[in-house]
């Protein structure tokens, strides 16, 4: 009798705990979304359209702003077109033989460029394409550097492997037997692609394109570093200049912000809407895994092609320069301080981001349990919204909405942290939501019936499924946070200078060798973190518009 009472009490306490945790999660999710997304975005829109004294919505049609919008669109169009086309072709090709390979580390090389800090990308391309760069040294003189072409080239090079990775993952999942069925019915290669392959990869492909176009719209330091200044101005650089330089022009920045919101959100909303009507199916069929040296070599070669250009940042003098930096007390102090800020930011952003995602997933599960279906799908959509909002626009929103408490020039760790958490929220959300949606109630109940406590049941059944993606999200967010420039550029101060900022500052002080050495350090750190993320998680999920487990067909 006594035992029963005790276990009853434990069960009650457990239920209580779950209830309180759920309530805290709901509260946190709602608060986070309101304060970090809705309030800043709403501040930008309302201020720009209704409350601004200097012309309101008329500022949107200012010829200068419109010419910047045109150039941004032009840049995004070409970057996305090339990245999408090349990425699709490459992804289909890789995916067609990927099914034969066991999980290959070479595949990670396609993921790694996505985490390369943009400041390093800038330095690398200047080193390749510059007048005194590597190509010129080899006798190939191009006039691409400091022009729109250089920006597009850098974008394409950065995004092709990512699109290829996502498409190849989707193509890999396509059962070979479907292609065989099509063949036996008389479909040639073209028809096989049209009726079997394309419907299978298209959702991922369009998702990837939306992602690429948003990223290219939001690209900031690459345009600043490689574009050569005016007339190559995009909305991002325009916002930055109007906020942080010279003539403080908030109404102009707001107009650019509204345009940018439109440009980054529209592709997302369109793609999400289109695919919410058109559900895709995934197949979990075991593949024959044959080690083929040729395929491995191809994959290594391809991956290497997209990674090696960034390694140009290392040269024979790098170790000596690093030593010089370490030995010089002033440089050492600067590097240590920047490293301290960057690491603190990366750790805090990754922890905060993952915890917020877990809270958001608990909220979604609760909505599902309570059968608030429409609320659940609205929430799902809203939580994905930050992927379509640029960090500079969010920053501008924070600047305006919280101006009473936040001084951008005083620097604010908390604001930078909040911005980075919002920026990387969709990444962690995409990695973790499939795990949450496929939660194993039956197995959990089975374990509880066999006498396991809730905690034991969680630890034995749920945790093994969660830990990989969880650590992958932590690594991916930390990797992204290390190289992030936008949020830091808006809210930095003397005490709050991160590694990428130190890098650009040293570039400005002609300390090129030192800047390159620090860039190399940053590059290695983000490479390592992206590799960890790849090893632990299914990064292909990042390209999916409909989570893998939402609809599943057992064959």
């Amino acid at each position: 009798m006594k035992v029963r009472t005790e276990s009853g009490a434990v069960a009650f306490r457990n239920r209580d705990l779950v209830f309180y945790l759920t309530m805290i999660s709901i509260l946190w999710t709602v608060l986070f979304w309101l304060s970090a997304v809705l309030v800043p975005v709403a501040a930008v829109i309302t201020q720009a359209l209704f409350q601004d004294s200097q012309g309101g919505w008329r500022a949107l049609l200012d010829p200068t702003v419109l010419s910047v919008v045109r150039l941004t669109l032009w840049q995004v169009f070409w970057s996305t077109l090339w990245s999408g086309t090349l990425g699709l072709l490459l992804g289909l090709w890789i995916g067609s033989f990927l099914a034969n390979l066991p999980r290959s580390r070479a595949h990670a090389l396609l993921v790694v460029p996505f985490g390369v800090p943009t400041s390093v990308v800038g330095i690398a391309w200047v080193t390749w394409l510059g007048r005194t760069g590597v190509f010129a040294y080899w006798g190939f003189h191009s006039e691409w550097i400091y022009s729109l072409k250089a920006v597009i080239l850098a974008h394409v090079f950065l995004n092709v492997p990512w699109v290829a990775y996502l498409v190849s993952q989707a193509r890999k999942d396509l059962p070979h037997s479907l292609l065989e069925a099509a063949k036996t019915l008389g479909a040639d290669r073209k028809c096989q692609f049209r009726y079997v392959v394309w419907p299978h990869v298209s959702s991922v492909f369009w998702g990837a394109c939306a992602q690429v176009s948003s990223l290219c719209t939001m690209s900031f330091s690459l345009v600043l570093g490689l574009g050569g200044g005016p007339p190559v101005q995009t909305l991002e650089t325009e916002i930055y200049e109007r906020l942080r330089y010279g003539l403080l022009d908030i109404s102009g920045a707001l107009a650019c912000g509204v345009w940018e919101l439109a440009l980054t959100l529209v592709p997302w909303v369109l793609v999400l809407y289109f695919y919410s009507k058109h559900k895709k199916f995934n197949f979990n069929q075991p593949h024959k895994q044959v080690r083929r040296l040729r395929h491995h070599a191809t994959l290594w070669g391809l991956g290497g092609f997209f990674v090696i250009p960034y390694l140009v940042i290392f040269n024979g003098q790098t170790p000596a320069t690093l030593l010089r930096v370490v030995l010089d007390p002033d440089s050492r102090l600067q590097v240590l301080m920047a490293l301290d800020v960057s690491v603190r930011l990366a750790v805090a952003a990754s922890l905060g981001c993952v915890l917020t995602v877990v809270a958001a997933l608990m909220t979604l599960n609760w909505l599902k349990k309570c059968k608030f279906k429409s609320l659940e799908s609205i929430m799902n959509l809203l939580l994905k919204l930050p992927s379509g909002v640029s960090v500079l626009v969010l920053g501008l929103g924070v600047w305006i909405a919280y101006s009473r408490w936040v001084d951008p020039f005083e620097g604010s760790f908390l604001v930078v942290l909040g911005l980075q958490m919002t920026l990387f929220f969709p990444v962690a959300f995409r990695l973790l939501s499939p795990i949450s949606e496929s939660h194993s109630t039956l197995e959990l109940e089975g374990a509880v019936l066999l006498g396991a406590s809730r905690f034991q049941a969680f630890w034995i059944i749920e945790w093994p499924r969660w830990k990989g993606p969880l650590f992958a999200s932590l690594a991916a967010v930390a990797g992204g946070g290390l190289g992030e420039v936008g949020a830091v550029s808006l809210f930095y101060s003397e005490r709050l200078i991160s590694m990428p900022l130190l890098l650009s500052r040293w570039m400005g002080q002609y300390r090129f060798a030192e800047a390159q050495a620090v860039g190399g350090l940053l590059l290695l750190l983000s490479f390592a973190l992206m590799l960890i993320a790849f090893e632990l998680g299914e990064l292909g999920e990042l390209g999916r518009l409909v989570p893998r487990r939402q609809v599943e067909v057992t064959l």
């Binding site: 037997s177 063949k183 019915l185 079997v196 609809v551 064959l555």
Partner: protein
């Protein structure tokens, strides 16, 4: 039934087939006639699927032998040019297409216009009791229905030969019985030489007009596909 794709039916002939499978060699030499339903019985892993996939042209590596439809040598043709209907173990339906689009896929590949192929599709679907679901997504079908769609999809475009790879293995016993009857019905609509591989004796009882067996030949260390006549009546 009015023919949409003009194909003359010819017997299936496999000559001097040989394939090394580990230490042993699988060999075959047999013919399946028009209107005949030959069933090849063997345990799993014995090489029956391998043989079927070779006939269909899906697997071409390290094989010897020739495959003919009548006098037409199919051995070196790509699968899409062999005119062989194939039913897979799992239905392998195209999930992005509706039931009707799946069923008429073969006709579409042969350039048959939409209205003609949909009329034909409706006719065949009616036969298998799926007319009401013509335009629903295939994912809404039950296991049995999916397999029926797969049968129709493999036969509707009048292939010269039909191959079935354990088509009932994923279904429960009652459903199997019903589907076997359906298969006989559908085969009557287009009596191409049919070769079915299975490990279920029941399939032979209900379906087979002739039987192929895998026999062990200790002298040559070969497993041979041997024809043993079961029943003489032929449909069609």
């Amino acid at each position: 039934m009015k023919s949409i794709v003009s194909v003359q039916l010819m017997p299936l002939r496999v000559e001097n087939f040989e394939k090394k499978m580990g230490s042993i060699t699988l060999s075959a030499y047999f013919t399946v006639n028009v209107g005949e339903r030959a069933v090849l019985l063997g345990k799993s892993g014995s090489g029956k699927t391998t043989l079927l996939r070779w006939i269909a042209g899906l697997d071409q590596r390290d094989f010897k032998g020739k495959v003919f439809a009548g006098d037409r040598d199919l051995t070196y043709l790509a699968p899409e040019f062999r005119n062989i209907g194939f039913v897979f173990q799992d239905a392998n339906l195209f999930t992005s297409l509706t039931v009707m689009d799946n069923v008429t896929f073969g006709l579409r590949m042969r350039g048959v216009s939409r209205c003609v192929r949909e009329a034909e599709g409706a006719l065949w679907l009616e036969k298998v009791g799926l007319k009401g679901q013509s335009f629903s997504p295939v994912t809404q079908l039950s296991g049995g229905e999916r397999q029926r769609v797969a049968f129709v999809r493999a036969l509707i475009w009048r292939p010269q030969i039909v191959l079935l790879d354990e088509p009932f293995s994923a279904l429960d016993p009652e459903l199997r019985a019903a589907l076997r009857r359906d298969l006989v019905e559908i085969h009557r609509l287009w009596p191409a030489p049919m070769l079915l591989v299975t490990h279920d004796e029941k399939d032979i009882e209900v379906l087979a007009t002739s039987r192929l067996d895998l026999q062990w030949d200790p002298v040559s260390d070969q497993r041979k596909v041997v024809r043993s006549r079961a029943r003489d009546d032929c449909d069609g």
